[in-house]
Structures are given as structure tokens and as C-alpha cells.
């Protein structure tokens, strides 16, 4: 039996693919850029959703991972541009403009950051957890501002978009398809994870910590692993985001970014597989259309968020597809 949520999801993903394909033939590269932005932000949200949706971890520090991904792209690319090695001694590390290598670096470093931040902040819970993740976010933000070697406050420009074997990333549709393929792969992974033993235990720890401890699982371990996986995915999104804009700046690390990712996950549906995709699409559409009307378009975003939080706890996906069907 195909459930309503699965039909919703299929419609969303097909639409996300169809619009840029159409825009490509209609020669509307700007639309493709918008769709790419949705795709990348959705990916960042899928990352957050693993911590927030399944694990119940309200992290206001996910901009750290997004930013680390972004700076991985920026730093590696800038060294490739200038032919100056990143490191001379004890061994030489060159920059690169190869996306797969950049992604790997982005994932590894954001995972490491998540491991450290998670290991410290997950000892607390509730509002303290939120505050500690926020504090880490601020630390990284101000560090980036003061890091003059890589542009400091002004950020870093990437002159030419990085390369992917077999594709011409300067063609907007090619770059979109690369991002789209990654999003699909990560969605598949997130869906498996939610149904896996790990997902069950993590969701149980969110609902009743006493229960998981009584059967012999340490919630801390579950949450730390979830936080690392979550951070790594958001970091990968950050790497793509930098390549989309050909620019990285400390604003990627600011707590506004954390807040925005959380806002669109909530709008789309916390804990719903496609919640971040729908949320990111709504966010970008509002920004695009309302942003043209008023500089203060986020007023409307706030109103939208309020309605969702008050009347549709499952977000837009929840309103369309009904209550979540638990594991089957």
C-alpha cells in the first residue's frame, strides 16, 4: 500500500527535479539557481532533522557545520587558485578544486566538530543544551571573522566553481543535478536510519529516557552518534552552498543561519523525512517573492511559522499527509 506521505514525498521530489529541467530548456538559469538553493538548504535541513526530529536535540549550533563545510570549499579552492600549498611542513598539502575531495574534507571536519561540540553539550539537556550549542556557534563565528588569512569579515571568493569529474559545473543544470543526486542519496540514508535499530533507539530516547536506560542503552552515546551524523550532513550542504554562491563568509556561521535551518525544518515538518525539503522550498519561495516586495519579508515568515507551530505540529507534511506512521 502506498501511503499519503509517500505520495506527497514523490510529488515533492519530482517537482524539484522537473522545475530545473524545464527551466533549462526555457533558458531560465535563475530558476535553476533557486532550485539548487532549495536542494542544498534541504540537505542541511535533513542533517539537522536527524538530531532534531528523531533525537529531539534542539541544536542552535548547526551553522557551525554548515560554515565548516563552506570554509572547506573556500579554503581548498583558494589555495588551488593561487597554487600556494595549504601546508608546507611537515608534509605538503595542496589546495584542490575537485568537489569529491572537498566534500570529503567538509564531511570529516564537520563530523569532528560535531563530535567535540556534541561530546560537551550533550552532557546537558533542555535549554542548557540549546545555549551551549549557541555558544559554540558564536565562538566559530567570531573566529572566522578574526581569521584574516581567509578574508576575515569580508569572506572568501571562489573565482571559478569547483569541478566534478564528467560534468561541467558551470552549467547551472549540471551543478543542480549533482546537488540533487546528493540530496536523494542522503534522503535514502536518512530513511534507512530512521527505521534501523539505531533510529528506533534514538527515537525512544527522545520519548522516554528512563525507558532506554532501564533496558540498558546509554542515551548519550545514541545522541552523540546522531549529532555527528547530523553535523556531517549539514557540513556537506555547506560545502555545496559555498560552491553555489562562489563565496563564503562568516555569515554562514552566524546563529541566524542555525535559526533559519531550524525554522524551515519546523515549517516542513520536524521528524518527517521530506519536511526539510518542503520547508526549504517554502523558505526560498517566500524569500524570493516576498523579498521583492519588502525588505522585511521575514515578518511574513514569522507569521507562517507561528501558524505552523500553533496549528500544524507536523508541519506542512503533517498537514498534508496526516500523523506519522510509525515503523512498519
Amino acid at each position: 500500500m502506498i501511503r499519503r506521505e509517500q505520495m506527497c514525498n514523490a510529488a515533492v521530489i519530482l517537482l524539484l527535479l522537473a522545475i530545473p529541467l524545464w527551466a533549462h530548456s526555457a533558458d531560465a538559469p535563475f530558476v535553476i539557481t533557486l532550485a539548487t538553493k532549495v536542494t542544498i538548504l534541504a540537505l542541511a535541513g535533513v542533517g539537522l532533522n536527524i538530531a532534531l526530529g528523531i533525537g529531539g536535540l534542539v541544536s542552535l549550533g548547526h551553522a557551525v557545520f554548515f560554515g565548516i563545510g563552506g570554509y572547506a570549499t573556500g579554503i581548498l579552492a583558494s589555495h588551488a587558485q593561487t597554487y600556494e600549498p595549504l601546508l608546507q611542513a611537515p608534509f605538503v598539502i595542496e589546495g584542490t578544486n575537485q568537489m569529491p575531495i572537498i566534500w570529503l574534507v567538509a564531511v570529516v571536519f564537520s563530523a569532528l566538530a560535531a563530535l567535540v561540540i556534541g561530546a560537551l553539550s550533550l552532557r546537558t539537556s533542555g535549554v542548557y543544551f540549546i545555549m551551549i550549542t549557541l555558544a559554540f556557534g558564536q565562538m566559530f563565528y567570531y573566529f572566522a571573522i578574526s581569521w584574516s588569512a581567509y578574508g576575515g569579515e569580508d569572506g572568501l571568493s571562489i573565482w571559478v566553481r569547483n569541478e566534478f569529474p564528467g560534468a561541467n559545473t558551470l552549467v547551472p543544470l549540471h551543478f543542480f543535478l549533482i546537488c540533487f543526486a546528493i540530496l536523494c542519496a542522503v534522503l535514502w540514508f536518512a530513511a534507512r536510519l530512521a527505521r534501523a535499530p539505531f533510529g528506533l533507539a534514538l527515537a525512544a530516547a527522545r520519548q522516554n529516557q528512563d525507558r532506554v536506560e532501564a533496558v540498558g542503552i546509554t542515551p548519550y552515546r545514541l545522541r552523540l552518534v546522531a549529532f555527528v551524523v547530523s553535523g556531517a550532513i549539514t557540513g556537506l550542504a555547506g560545502a555545496l552552498f559555498a560552491d553555489l554562491n562562489r563565496f563564503v563568509s562568516p555569515s554562514m556561521l552566524s546563529w541566524h543561519t542555525s535559526g533559519e535551518i531550524m525554522i524551515f525544518v519546523i515549517i516542513g515538518g520536524v521528524g518527517r523525512l521530506f519536511g526539510p525539503v518542503v520547508g526549504a522550498a517554502i523558505f526560498i519561495l517566500l524569500e524570493h517573492f516576498l523579498g521583492g516586495i519588502s525588505e522585511y519579508w521575514q515578518i511574513y515568515l514569522g507569521g507562517f511559522l507561528l501558524v505552523i507551530v500553533l496549528y500544524a505540529r507536523g508541519g506542512v507534511i503533517g498537514a498534508l499527509a496526516g500523523r506519522e506512521v510509525a515503523h512498519d
Binding site: R192, L193, V215, G216, A326
Partner: protein, 257 residues
């Protein structure tokens, strides 16, 4: 199954455990043991410190003094999780369940940890035959097979009590610590639970905290009476009924016997 006379040490032993919350002495030098094959009932008025004692056995609370031994080995240094893995299966006085899960999922959670393999990221846990079979069997035994696919938030209070017991069963523990499993079950429910627990003692001994005296007298091989954090008597049903101290302190006023 196990002959109590052959076992060198009791399955569980509590030795001189004391615990204070500020000025309140919730446990005063408590010693008791649980032998293979028995049901040992722990009774006492509200606030006597029964749940507090259970928590010190499971590791949720650290005693100020005293020691807890499992099969003769001290487990004081072990975390709550490690003790659960060593075979302490407990049920909560107030149900602690994942309310968004189905009944079956709650049971699978227990079976999962007992079997191992929590950190698996790709396999579908509800398609794991071994786990689901183990969980279903436990649900079956407590009479929840019919509601296995229902959301835990939607089943009755009494059914949640039964689910607590079922989860403990999936762990296949060495002993059960049950904190008022009959509470809120209703007459029919407590009767079938009584019959079930009577058969369960063959698998693993039970330390049973219970207010339902019919159940206690139907089940208990031994009874300990806890009043104001202190064990005032331990013995067979006969001994407890005849204890002057118990009558004075606890049973007399209620005319429960």
C-alpha cells in the same frame, strides 16, 4: 529449575543500604535478598521507601552506604545501563514507555538491547524476524498480542502496565524488580497478572513491590515489610501475619488480615 538449596549465594543481595534526602531517611540500613525461584514481596505504606530501594538496586540512585550484589558480586560501581545488561529487568511504578511507538515497537526496543546490535544504521528493525518474534512472544505472554500494532498512547492504562512487564520479559533478565505491576489493573487484570507472575518465578525470581494484598498473599514466598525506610520484618507469610511488630506498625490499623 533451580534448587534454592544448591545456590551458594542469593541472586540478589542488598547489604546495609542507607539513603537520605536531606533530613529524610528514605532507606535505613536495609538488608534483604532474593533467592532463585522465589517471589519476595516488599510491602509498606505510601512513602515507606520501596521505590527508592528499587532505584538503588537498579543504579538510578546511589546509596549513601551499603552494597548491592548480583550473584554474589558487588555491582555498586556499575551504571544503570550496565546493570540492566547484567540481567536486572525492572518495571516502573509510573509507566515509562515510548508513547509514539506502537506496543510492538516498545517490546522490540527491549529485545534489541538484550540481543545487541543497537548501532546498526541500515537494516529495518521491524523486519528483524528474531527481534519481532522475541517481542511478540513477550506481548503474547502478558496478553497484549491483540494490541501489538496500536500506538502506545492509545492503549489503556492497564495495558501499559502489562507492556512494562512485557518489555522486562524481552530482556530475559536474571531477576525482575517490579514496582506495583498491579496498580490500576482492575480486579480481572490483577488476577490474570497474578497467575502470570506465579509462573514467571520459574524463569527468574521477582522482587515484587505491591499494595494489592490479595496478590501479595497469593504470590509471595517471602515478605519484607518496610516502614519509614526500615525493614521491620522479613519472613514467610505465616511469620509476617503473626509478627506483633508488623501488626502494630502496619497491618493492624488497616485490619487487612
Amino acid at each position: 529449575m533451580t534448587d534454592p538449596n544448591h545456590s551458594v549465594s542469593p541472586v540478589l543481595e542488598v547489604r546495609g543500604v542507607s539513603k537520605s534526602f536531606g533530613a529524610l531517611h528514605a532507606s535505613r540500613d536495609i538488608s534483604l535478598d532474593l533467592r532463585a525461584g522465589e517471589i519476595h514481596a516488599l510491602i509498606g505504606p505510601n512513602g515507606a521507601g520501596k521505590s527508592t530501594l528499587i532505584k538503588q538496586i537498579t543504579g538510578e540512585l546511589r546509596p549513601d552506604r551499603g552494597s548491592v550484589l548480583l550473584n554474589g558480586e558487588p555491582i555498586d560501581h556499575l551504571s544503570r545501563m550496565a546493570r540492566a545488561q547484567r540481567g536486572l529487568g525492572r518495571t516502573f511504578q509510573i509507566s515509562a514507555l515510548a508513547m509514539d511507538f506502537t506496543v510492538l515497537q516498545n517490546a522490540v526496543l527491549g529485545a534489541l538491547v538484550a540481543r545487541g546490535g543497537v548501532f546498526r544504521f541500515f537494516s529495518n528493525v521491524m523486519r528483524d524476524r528474531d527481534l519481532v518474534a522475541r517481542a511478540s512472544e513477550a506481548l503474547d505472554r502478558v496478553g497484549l498480542a491483540d494490541v501489538a500494532q496500536m500506538r502506545t498512547a492509545d492503549i489503556s492504562h492497564g495495558q501499559r502496565r502489562q507492556l512494562e512487564v512485557a518489555i522486562a520479559l524481552t530482556q530475559r533478565p536474571k531477576l525482575f524488580l517490579m514496582d506495583e505491576p498491579m496498580a490500576g489493573l482492575g480486579a480481572g487484570g490483577s488476577q490474570s497478572m497474578t497467575v502470570f507472575l506465579a509462573s514467571l518465578r520459574q524463569e527468574a525470581p521477582i522482587l515484587l513491590v505491591e499494595h494489592d494484598m490479595d496478590a501479595v498473599f497469593a504470590l509471595a514466598d517471602r515478605i519484607s515489610v518496610l516502614v519509614y525506610g526500615q525493614i521491620i520484618a522479613t519472613g514467610t507469610q505465616e511469620e509476617i501475619r503473626n509478627s506483633v511488630e508488623v501488626q502494630r506498625a502496619y497491618l493492624g490499623e488497616e485490619d487487612a488480615l
